[in-house]
Amino acid sequence: MMKSKADEEDFWNSSKCKPFTFDDEDDEFSKLKESKQTVKNIRPLVDEDEDEDDVEKISWSGEPVGSISWSVRETAASSQRTEREPAFPKINTDTPAISRSLSGYSLSALFKGGTAQSDSSVRLYAPELRKPKSEYKDIVSDWSPEHTVQRMQQGKVVHLEKFRSLQDKLLLLDFAVSAHDGNVITAVLIYLKRTLSKEVLFRELESRQTALRHFIHYLTETRDQRLLLELLRSRTSPLLQYKEHLSIADENKRRDFLKSCLSLPFSPEDSAHVQDHYTLLERQIIIEATDRHAERGGKVEIFQKFPRRASILNMPLITTLYYCCFYHYHESEGTYSSPLNIRQTFRISDKQYFVTALAARAKLKAWSDVDALFTSRNWLGFTRKKSPLSFQRVVDILHRNSAPTQVLQEYVGLVDDSDLRISLAQKHKCHDIVINTYRDLKDRQLLLGYLSKVERGSAEAGKINQLLSNQQIRWRN
């Protein structure tokens, strides 16, 4: 397959090869006309013939208005009519249009496995042609729902319009359901949709869950939003209506639409989410307008230094918070874009706020802001570092934002678990912490071992040597 790479490119890019035709155009059409004419001439004969037998048959070949005839065999527009003449097998050989289209080079032949022309035409047409009259009759006479469903499953032609009473229609549906064939279930539902009022159909579907789910899926796929909303009135429809906002591109229109959704009967929980969505978009529109203006004005330093990569419109709440922590961190609580205001309005938890603010300030390398985030003062006025997040995670976030070792060191030191602390310290090369921890553990061997990991003659090495020669420490080993 690799070899054909060049071929492939050539193929996709250019159109060098000749347009592919089944046949010379004029020839083709004249032949087609010819065959059509032949067919036309034949029809009256057939109709007469059938009239004697059974009135029903007219509809089979004559197709009354509004009929749904399913034909699953190869049905080229031209061949369709010829195919329907079971009494005149000669026609097939008289219609070159058909046999041409099945030549070895045609696509259909390719997809039939490239068999020779005679083979595929036999396979396709022979069953129809050989169909004895008795079977023909059989189709017409056996209209039991069960039989019809069976025929549909096999892809054979059926006449659904025979099922006119509600009882018959429902029997048909129930047989389709018990046959487990979704294709047939949907086909019957399409027919019921056309021939029953929606009130009756909905009422009957209520007690037929399988059919109902097929119908919902069919309406979803055909985007019959109106009918779908009616059908689902009491179920998930507020959500479905709310979902429409996705197709509104203009942010102001979208906001107005969301506002109109607020009165829909959501569950209390979802109602709060939709309310938040509306409030958020409203706010994003204001922030976006102000910031775009500020950015264009070129006077606000932060927008010059860190140009905005995308608009904030339609971003999730946490992204918006991050954005505000990045561009509007020190604003007073009164403004729409102040992180504190957002935190309050949307009831953002400590942890969420903390993680987001930390990431944003670390990205800006505003280490003093980072420091301030952790600092809390107790009633004696002592400061200490507190975090709703494990310090291990804090170190990770800082490290990802390429914090310098001095900054990392401070937080690594706050990790409680000594094993974890050491492994983090080693990973981030916070030598002081490693050395101090070993000293506290009075572990001379480990300390000695660590000497080889620090640079010779560095301050750390000096510190280790100093400790090792300290006579006052009672080493454990």
């Binding site: 997809f111 892809g155 294709n183 979902k243 939709v274 946490i318 969420q352």
Partner: protein
């Protein structure tokens, strides 16, 4: 790579005078060709696009011939669209019953990823017959089957539709090549596909996405500026030896292999002309190929390592294992929260939430609300729909007080006439499906005791595919049923799995004697997709018990595909 690529490449199509290839999408076809041939899956949306093309041509007075080939079959609903759009008769239609694509010696795929959302999410049974037909095809080629087992509503239907086709068709007596068949619905076991894969083939699928048995390795793997597409199957000797291995063994294996290769190359030193000639003609080609494969898999392993260390894979696995064990759940919840708060991949977050819900048999209402709110805040309120889908599938649910189901059932029961009553309760039991994972895990000992050392080099059971932390439920069920040759003794298990199990004697004329080799060949059909990890587990089981498993699946799946299907549904 698409299924079509596996059977016909561009040059074959060109030989058949195809002028140009297009992807079917919502835009006009700019072509001078007089014939357009559309090869499509039977989807309403696709047919509508084609109708637009045809109608646009009509308006422009362009006269063309159109052929629609539906694969694997035509649906009435698609034809109804042709009829509605007024082009029925203007286009000719055909079916290409392309049911099974062999991905490897032991994997056959229907390549129908949409089977999962169509059946399990929308409740649409359009593909059930397709699956039955695929089974019928295998049966007519390799049957008669001696026994058929199954679990799940869909499996039951596929079984019945297959049966029907067997009865309709003519019986051809021939030597059976497949003994037993096991059908299983994906929703019997959602835990397994939601776990991170750590067996090589599964990992490659999770990270690089294998499509139709083919993977595209980017520049970071090939260590050049080009990407290469590689077929991953048993033909690739290096891959074949590592595909089922736990990732921790792969490095050792690859370096051993590299040393062997070096030795083989070194042999040529000190050879005389004749020997060199023999070497070049006999060995060199094989060695070169092996060299190429080896360097690719080494590159892939490196890239996997890099990606995994970056995202704290170790900690992620630890959380998963805790969830499977039901241990330190609060810590797990807070890990998931942090994951969401930091806006790490939304699929990963969703995956962990679902694992939490299934293993815990639903979330406490308080937790459910808070986690859902945080998810929406981090990834957007639009995901309200995702939560509806997840609830529908039973992947992410609130714990209900025990009596809710019965109240609902009795209420609905009154509305229903007798005939459909049975079916309706069926439908409801699947809606209100409980996972019961913890009880199942105990009953089937799915989670090995954590205090025991697990040597991944010498796996003792199928748990090795998840680092010794969990035996995949799906594969364990298959093992148990095959061992007993029935569901007897598993009544409690099937009750916890909401029933729908069955066992049936196969068609007449099957040779039941255990001596018959065909009886060791087991066909396992996954309805709704299976993962590479599950295939690895079955290969292991086969080696242990002397079976050979052939896996038939509607598609290869993994956690991302499974969850993305639920997001797509609403966009």
């Amino acid at each position: 790579m698409s299924p079509l690529d596996r059977i016909a490449n561009v040059s074959i199509l060109k030989q058949h005078e195809v002028d140009k290839l297009y992807k079917v999408e919502y835009k006009p076809v700019m072509s001078t060709s007089e014939q357009l041939c559309f090869l499509i899956r039977p989807r309403i949306q696709t047919v509508k696009w084609i109708c637009d093309v045809v109608n646009a041509d009509k308006t422009a007075g362009k006269c063309r011939r159109y052929k629609l080939i539906f694969t694997p079959q035509k649906f009435y609903a698609c034809e109804a669209v042709l009829e509605e759009e007024g082009i029925f008769g203007d286009v000719s239609t055909d079916e290409w019953t392309f049911n099974l694509l062999p991905l490897d010696e032991d994997i056959l795929s229907l390549e129908l990823p949409e089977f999962f959302q169509d059946y399990f999410l929308a409740g649409d049974q359009r593909w059930v017959r397709t699956a039955g037909t695929a089974l019928h095809l295998l049966h007519s080629l390799y049957g008669p089957f001696s026994k058929v087992y199954g679990i799940g509503r869909c499996s039951k239907m596929v079984y019945e539709l297959w049966r029907e086709q067997v009865e309709e068709g003519e019986q051809k007596a021939h030597q059976a090549e497949i003994g037993k068949v096991f059908l299983i619905d994906r929703d019997v076991d959602f835990v397994t596909p939601l776990c991170s894969q750590v067996v090589y083939e599964g990992l490659v699928d999770d990270i690089f996405r294998i499509k139709c048995g083919c993977v595209e390795f980017g520049p970071d793997v090939t260590s050049s500026d080009k990407s290469v597409k590689v077929m991953l199957n048993s033909q690739d000797k290096v891959f074949n030896e590592i595909r089922n291995e736990h990732f921790s063994n792969v490095f050792g294996f690859l370096s051993q292999k590299a040393r062997n290769l070096q030795t083989a190359y070194d042999k040529r030193r000190g050879m005389d002309i004749k020997q060199i000639k023999a070497f070049v003609s006999e060995e060199l080609k094989g060695l070169k190929q092996e060299h190429r494969q080896l360097s690719l898999h080494i590159g892939a392993s490196e890239s996997i390592m890099k990606k995994k260390t970056k995202q704290d894979f170790q900690e992620l696995l630890k959380t998963e294992h805790s969830l499977l064990e039901g241990f330190e759940i609060r810590e797990c919840i807070s890990f998931i929260e942090e994951h969401m708060n930091r806006q790490v991949s939304m699929i990963e977050s969703l995956r962990l939430l679902c694992l939490l819900s299934i293993t815990e048999n639903g979330l406490l209402p308080k937790d459910y609300r808070s986690l859902k709110a945080q998810y929406l805040q981090s990834y957007g309120v639009d995901h309200l729909f995702t939560f509806v889908s997840l609830r529908q599938l039973g992947l992410l649910v609130e714990q209900q007080p025990g009596d809710t189901l019965t109240v609902m059932e009795s209420k609905v029961g009154k509305l229903v006439n007798d005939k459909t009553a049975g079916k309706l309760t069926d439908a409801f039991s699947s809606l209100a499906k409980k996972s019961n994972f913890r009880a199942l895990s105990r009953k089937l000992s799915l989670v090995p005791k954590s205090d025991e050392e697990y040597d991944l080099r010498v796996p003792r059971d199928m748990a090795y595919i998840f680092s010794g932390a969990y035996i995949p439920l799906s594969c364990k069920l298959i093992e148990q049923v095959l061992e007993r040759d029935s569901w007897t003794g598993l009544e409690e298990v099937t009750r916890l799995l909401n029933g729908h199990e069955f066992a049936a004697a196969g068609s007449s004329g099957a040779d039941l004697s255990e001596k018959n080799d065909a009886q060791r060949i087991i066909l396992v059909m996954f309805l709704g997709g299976c993962t590479f990890s599950e295939i690895s587990a079955l290969r292991f089981l086969g080696r242990e018990r002397g079976y050979r498993f052939i896996v038939v699946t509607t598609a290869i799946t993994n956690s991302s595909r499974l969850l993305e299907a639920l997001l797509d549904n609403h966009v």
